[in-house]
């Protein structure tokens, strides 16, 4: 999922942008014109184990699965669900089972990438088209987050905040979270954050504070860092929302809320809620030290992916790579991005 920095300005997801490489689904499907709705789609999900977070963010595989169930309600599809459980062998056997059931299309979300070439071979041999999520499966079209762009949005937001609120200051900056995560997603996110900060504040070089994947460690790391920098403004880019909340605690306990601002990654349910839920990113809490979080909309993947699948099943072309449209969500736009119903 490496995303070159040169792609910063591109419009994403379903934009059908001119020049985008298009993949003919018709070329992959055996006889797409023979297929008629309701279509049978297999969705092999990355990992539905309770409590297991995915992609270094606060979402779970169950969030992704639920989004498919909801998005499928009004579409002419019957979905067979599989759980790859974060395991290569399980992913291969799930794909084999789906193929044996002669599904019309396989949606494969498998982070154990060693299995993906075999899955691609089996599907191709059976003439079943594949739509990949997150990780390539042969030459199948891919839908994924744009991690570099999401990071860049956060870096840009921190820089813009500095120019607006602390125009006479040269702040410090930190990237806080599971820095050591070797996944491409996290690497790209961090690169994006740095690019965003550098573009806005060329003289500022963020410090990496590695929580080792334990969000609560972010509290200690940031507390120590702030002690060493008693009179400086600090921009904080956290790699997930749980870390952002721990960082907020550290800032409040250190009585440094006037010196710090946090922009996070993910926008999972822990930081936003309904009209009557008190959450960190909330229209009534716009003075929070957590300025916002870059939305990944993993709880809406089904709404993005199933329309692509529909197009493939109809024999239409789809982009080789479609991306989530990330946006910075703050107290000012959270209800627009996640409309609540608890005011009806």
């Amino acid at each position: 999922m490496a995303t070159p920095a040169s792609c910063l300005g591109r419009r994403r997801l379903l934009a059908g942008a001119a020049g985008a490489a298009l993949v003919s689904a018709a070329a992959r499907a055996a006889n797409p014109s023979d297929r008629t709705p309701p279509w049978r789609i297999a969705f092999a999900n990355i990992n539905e184990t309770q409590g297991v977070r995915i992609e270094g963010l606060g979402f779970t595989g169950l969030d992704v699965r639920k989004s498919f169930e909801l998005a499928a309600r009004t579409l002419p599809v019957n979905i067979i669900y599989y759980d790859n459980a974060g395991d290569e062998q399980t992913a291969v056997s799930n794909a084999a089972d789906a193929i044996s059931q002669k599904v019309d299309l396989l949606i494969e979300y498998n982070g154990e990438t060693g299995a993906n070439p075999e899955i691609a071979r089996k599907a191709a041999a059976a003439g079943i088209p594949v739509l990949a999520i997150g990780y390539p499966v042969g030459n199948a079209p891919v839908y994924s987050a744009d991690n570099h762009e999401a990071g860049r949005i956060a870096g840009h937001a921190l820089g813009a905040f500095t120019k607006q609120s602390w125009p006479d200051e040269t702040p410090l900056a930190v990237v806080l979270g599971d820095i050591g995560d070797p996944s491409d997603a996290v690497t790209e996110r961090i690169k994006g954050i740095l690019d965003g900060v550098h573009a806005e504040l060329p003289g500022v070089e963020p410090t990496m504070l590695d929580s080792g994947g334990q969000p609560q460690r972010g509290d200690d790391l940031l507390t120590k860092y702030m002690r060493q920098q008693p009179r400086r403004k600090v921009l904080i880019a956290t790699l997930d929302d749980a870390t952002a909340l721990w960082a907020r605690n550290a800032i409040e306990l250190a009585v440094r809320i006037n010196d710090c601002v946090i922009v996070s990654q993910g926008l999972d349910r822990t930081v936003h809620g309904g009209a009557h839920e008190k959450k960190e990113i909330d229209p009534t809490n716009r003075a929070s030290v957590v300025l916002g979080s870059v939305a990944y909309f993993m709880d809406r993947y089904g709404y993005d992916v199933l329309p692509l699948a529909m197009r493939m099943l109809k024999g239409e072309s789809v982009p080789a790579h479609s991306y989530t449209q990330h946006v910075l969500v703050t107290g000012g736009n959270v209800f627009r991005e996640y409309p609540p119903i608890d005011m009806n």
């Binding site: 003075a287 005011m343 009806n344």
Partner: protein, 340 residues
């Protein structure tokens, strides 16, 4: 911190704008955002215009036995409410104090001070409840008409009577007979699970079940069984409020085309939740109330009338529902009865 300062400044600015001029809020082009009313440019009555004397007279023919079936839930502490919503009765009983009696016959009195938000329990959504930006029913720029003590337009006082025909549609039975009933595991009786979308075809199947054709001026009630969770208050309040089965936009459009006056429901918001399109805010509410002047009645108790219909095969009744002339209100708690 600058953040706090900015927020404070923004809040102060908002208050100044609101206080300085009512018109300052009317920023949106309401003609572009909301459909005009079919009842004329000055209309504040909405779909209840359709309840004419002939409609009421025809509805009266539904009274065959005089049986009255309650369709309201009790309003009491502990029922499901969202967040800060509340309804509280403060009883004034000083008349019972010895010596406070009136006259030689020692008459006494008691009364209530009812502190409540209007959209609680079995309640009715008025035309001033839902809009797009500051644009409400009939392209009304509501910013001009909002005051601290109610609306200057589109209040409940402008509505007609609701003495009309009611129709119960048993969606539980529709889903059961179609073999697609997915029950919420917390319901004790049959209920349709949250998130289930009702199509126009589902509603039509429910009407066909009782050989009913909708008429202009009808009030339609849909029984989903979800009230089973309401009735388990407070234990199931969180489950009840988390999601609901309901109509999607396609069904809403079909019902609007039938020229109904209101749609009642045994859930908290009538429309399916989570919504068909997660990027839209209560789209069915906007479509029905703001664009069509059709009211929504929420948290209705539909199980008793659904059972009565199943018993004798009659799904229509005379609707006895009174909406108070509460000036400037956006909605209110209502009592509903089906007279058969």
């Amino acid at each position: 911190m600058k953040l706090k300062k900015l927020a404070t400044q923004a809040a102060v600015a908002a208050i100044v704008v609101m206080g300085a001029s009512g018109t300052a809020l009317a920023q949106a082009d309401c003609k572009a955002l909301i459909q005009p009313s079919p009842f004329g440019p000055d209309d504040q009555t909405g779909a209840s215009n359709r309840i004419t004397p002939p409609v009421t007279k025809a509805a009266a023919a539904e009274i065959k036995t005089g049986e009255v079936v309650s369709m309201s839930n009790v309003l009491v502490d502990g029922i499901p409410l969202f967040g800060t919503r509340f309804s509280k009765d403060i009883l004034t009983a000083v008349g019972l104090v010895p010596g406070a009696e009136f006259g030689k016959n020692q008459a006494t009195y008691m009364e209530d001070t009812w502190l409540s938000q209007s959209h609680v329990g079995t309640h009715f959504d008025g035309l001033g409840h839902i809009g797009i930006k500051d644009c409400y029913y009939n392209q009304t720029p509501m910013g001009k008409f909002v005051t601290q003590n109610g609306l200057k337009r589109l209040g409940l006082e402008h509505l007609n009577t609701f003495a009309t025909r009611g129709v119960i549609i048993d969606m539980v039975r529709v889903f059961k007979e179609a073999g697609k009933l997915k029950k919420n595991p917390n319901c004790k009786a049959d209920c349709i699970d949250g998130g289930t979308v009702f199509s126009a075809a589902d509603i039509q199947a429910g009407l066909k079940m009782y050989n009913v054709t909708l008429r202009e001026g009808d009030v339609v009630f849909l029984h989903t069984g979800y009230e089973d969770l309401f009735l388990q208050y407070p234990a199931m309040n969180a489950v009840y409020n988390a999601s609901e089965p309901g109509i999607g936009m396609e069904a809403a459009k079909w019902l609007a085309d039938q020229k109904v006056v209101a749609i009642g429901y045994d859930t908290f918001a009538l429309e399916v939740w989570p919504s068909e399109d997660p990027t839209q805010g209560i789209p069915v509410h906007v479509f029905l109330i703001a664009n069509n002047g059709i009211h929504i009645i929420e948290n209705v108790r539909t199980d008793l009338i659904a059972a009565a219909a199943a018993k004798d095969g009659r799904a229509t009744f005379f609707l006895n529902m009174t909406v108070p002339k509460a000036v400037g209100f956006t909605g209110n708690f209502v009592n509903i009865e089906a007279v058969r």
